[in-house]
Symmetry: C2
Amino acid sequence: MKIGFLIIGSEVLDGKISDLNTKHLADFLRQNNLEIYESTTVRDDADSIKAGLKKLFTQNEVVITSGGLGPTKDDITKETIGDFFHKKMLMNQEAIKIAENNYKQFDRIFPGQEHGYAYLPEGFYPLSNSTGFAPGFYFKEENKILFSCPGVPREFNSMLNDHFFKITSEKIDHKIHMRHFVVRTKNVPEEKIFGEVDPTLWEKLQKFGDVSSLPILMGVDIGIKIKASSKEALEKQEIELRSIFASSPISKSIWHIGAESLEQKIVSIANEKKITFGFAESATGGLCSHRITSISGSSQSFIGSVICYDERVKINQLGVNPETIQKFQVVSPETAIEMAQGLQKSLNLDFAISITGYAGPTGGTKEFPVGSVCIGRAMKDGHSSASIFNLKGDREVLKQRFSQAVLYALLEELEKIAGI
Amino acid sequence: MKIGFLIIGSEVLDGKISDLNTKHLADFLRQNNLEIYESTTVRDDADSIKAGLKKLFTQNEVVITSGGLGPTKDDITKETIGDFFHKKMLMNQEAIKIAENNYKQFDRIFPGQEHGYAYLPEGFYPLSNSTGFAPGFYFKEENKILFSCPGVPREFNSMLNDHFFKITSEKIDHKIHMRHFVVRTKNVPEEKIFGEVDPTLWEKLQKFGDVSSLPILMGVDIGIKIKASSKEALEKQEIELRSIFASSPISKSIWHIGAESLEQKIVSIANEKKITFGFAESATGGLCSHRITSISGSSQSFIGSVICYDERVKINQLGVNPETIQKFQVVSPETAIEMAQGLQKSLNLDFAISITGYAGPTGGTKEFPVGSVCIGRAMKDGHSSASIFNLKGDREVLKQRFSQAVLYALLEELEKIAGI
C-alpha cells in the first residue's frame, strides 16, 4: 500500500511554521509496517490542491491530506477535494452530529446547520475530532482512499489515531514486517565512519536492506531498513546486525542501538539507578533542562537547575569564587568545575553538570572564541572534572550542539556510575 | 519567477528528522520579494528524484533541491540530476578546487581526484560551501535553473546566502514589492475573531491581498500578503491596514503588529527600559529560559532562572514556606507567588515570574487537573500577583503552551512597567 501525503498550507511555504506532521505521520505508520512514499506541499488555492492530488494519486493508493479544514475563508480543502472527485456539497446529518460533539467537548454549542462543518461532498464520510472543532473526512473510490485531517499537529495526530487503521485495514498487508534498525554514533563524521574507520561496513549492512547515514547534531545515525515475513525472522536479522556492529571499529563510538532518544536513555538509566542530577546552565540558557524535562518521569531523578546567565548568579547562587572568574575567565574549566560543585552542594545532587561557553554572535576571547564551551562535572563523593569543546554554528545551532555535548557527557557519567 | 523546492531525503519521510529548510528558504526568498510556489519531498532513489524534478519543472522556472550531496552511498542527487538532464559525469577542476577549499576551512586535506566531490555532470557549475565539506552546484538550460544544496540546515542556508541571488538575478523582477503584513493576536480562537468579534474584518482585509488566519500556540496570526510597484505604495497600504485593525474590536487582543517573535519583543523592551528579569520554572522545566536566551542580546536583561522541579528546590533555593505547599498544594497561586518572590529576592531582579503546573501525563489533583498552571509575579517594589490557566494537550504541547502563557504575562508586565 503506497501512501502519499499532501500538506495544504501556504503558511508552511511562506515559512510561518515548519511542518511537524510528516514526522508524526511517519512514526504512526511505522507501527503497522507502513511508510510515506512521497509528500507534496501546496498553497491554499484550488488549482494547486487539485494538481497535488492528481500527482499523488498516480503513484499512491492512499492520499492523506493535512490542513485547510478550519472555519475561515482560506480553508478550502473540503470543497476543492469534492470538486476534484466531481461531487456536490450536501448537508450531512452525520457531520452535524460529529460537529456538535466536537463542540460539546469544549463546553461550546455548535452554531448549527448554517455552519460550513455541516456540509460534505456527496459520498464522503465525516470523522470525529477528539482534540479540536473541525471534523475530518474520508472517501473511497475504486482503488483510491482519501483521508483528510486538520493541520494543527495535535488534531492531526488524534484523528490518525482514532480512525486511520479502521478505514484502511483491508488494504494493509499484515504479512510484511518492517523495522528501522538504528545505530547511534557520536563524534565521528560520516565520511570517516565508512572511510578510515570501517570501509567495508556499508557493503555488509546493505545485504540486510536500505542503508542510510544521517548526521545529527554531533553524531551520525546509521539506519538499516529491514523487512521480513515474520517477527522472528526480523529478530534474527537484528541479532546478526548487532554482531556486525559489535565487531566493527566503530563500536566504541556507538552510544545507543535503537530509536530511543538521548534524553530518554538518560532518564531511564538515572531513574533505574536512582541517581539524582541537575544542570548549572550558562551558555545553553535552559535548553539542557528543557530537553530532559520533556521526558515523562524525569522528575524522579532530575531535581532542578540554576540558569546562571549573569556572573552574579554564578557567584551568589553557585558560590563560584570571583577570583576564579577574574583569573581564568568565565568560560574556563576552572569556573565550570566551581559551577558544578556549587550546584551539587546546594541541591544535594548525586551528580551535577555545568556549562559555560560563548554561543555568540558576540563575545568570546582569543583563547576561547565563539563556539568554545567548558563542561564541568561534580559528584557527591567530591570528584570533579571538566572538558573543553570548540564547536561551530550560529547561536541557535551552537546552543543545540552545546546541549548535545552536555547530554553526551551526562550519559557517559551515568553509565560509569551505574557500571554499564 | 516561480520557484519549486525538491527535498531529497528518506530521513524526512521516515520521520527521523523534520524538514527545517523550507522555513529558511521562505525567509530567505522573502528578502527579494520571492516565494516558494510548491515543494515535494521524495526518497533517495533515482526514479523518485527524477519524477519530482519533472513535476516541479512543469510549473516552476527555478527548482532548488536540498539533500543527497554527502559522501555516503545513499547520496545520489548529483548523478541522478545529471542523468535527468542527460549529462555525463566528468572530472571538474573547479569542483576539485572548491572541495579543497571546503576541506581547508576545517583544517583537513581533500582526499583528491578519486573522491566523488571531484565529479560533476557536464555543463554543471560547482558552488563553494562555507560551512561544510560537500560542494553544491547549479545548472541553466533554456528557461530552467536548477540549484542544489546540501540538506544540513546550516550548509543549506550558507549556500543560499552565498550564491543564490547572483545566479538568478537576471530572472528576478525588481519591480514587484511584496510584504507579509502580520497581526499577532492572543487568547481568541480564529472562529471568534472573524465571527462574533469582527464579522466584516476578513472582507476588509481581502481588498489588500491574500488573507490568512494561522492558529499558533495560544493565539492567531492574521496575515495579509500585500504587493505593490514601489516601497512607498507598500507603506501606504500598511498604514491603511493598521488603521483597520486599530478601529476593530480585535485590537485589544493584538499583542504585536509585525513578524517579530514574542521572545524578541520581550528582550527588546526589557533591554531598552533596562528591566532585569528571570524565571522560577517548575512545569516548563527550562523552556521559558531557553526561549528567551535564544535571542542574541538577552544577557543584558535576563539574569538567570531557577528550575525548581523538585519540591526541595522550591523550598531551599526559593524560600517557599513548606506550610504553603502543605496547605495550598504545590500547584496553587499561593505557592506560585512565593516562588516568584523568592526568585526576585535571591537574584535581586526588577521582575520575577514563576510557573507551577501539571504537564502530565500523570499527576494533577481534583481542583487542578493535568493542564492546570499557576503563574506568579513579583516586583522589586513588593507587588505580587498570580493567575491560573487550564490548558489542553499532551506533555510537549502543554510545556509549549505553559511557556507561551508565561511569556504573554511577562510581556504584559514589561509593557506596564515601561508605560507602553
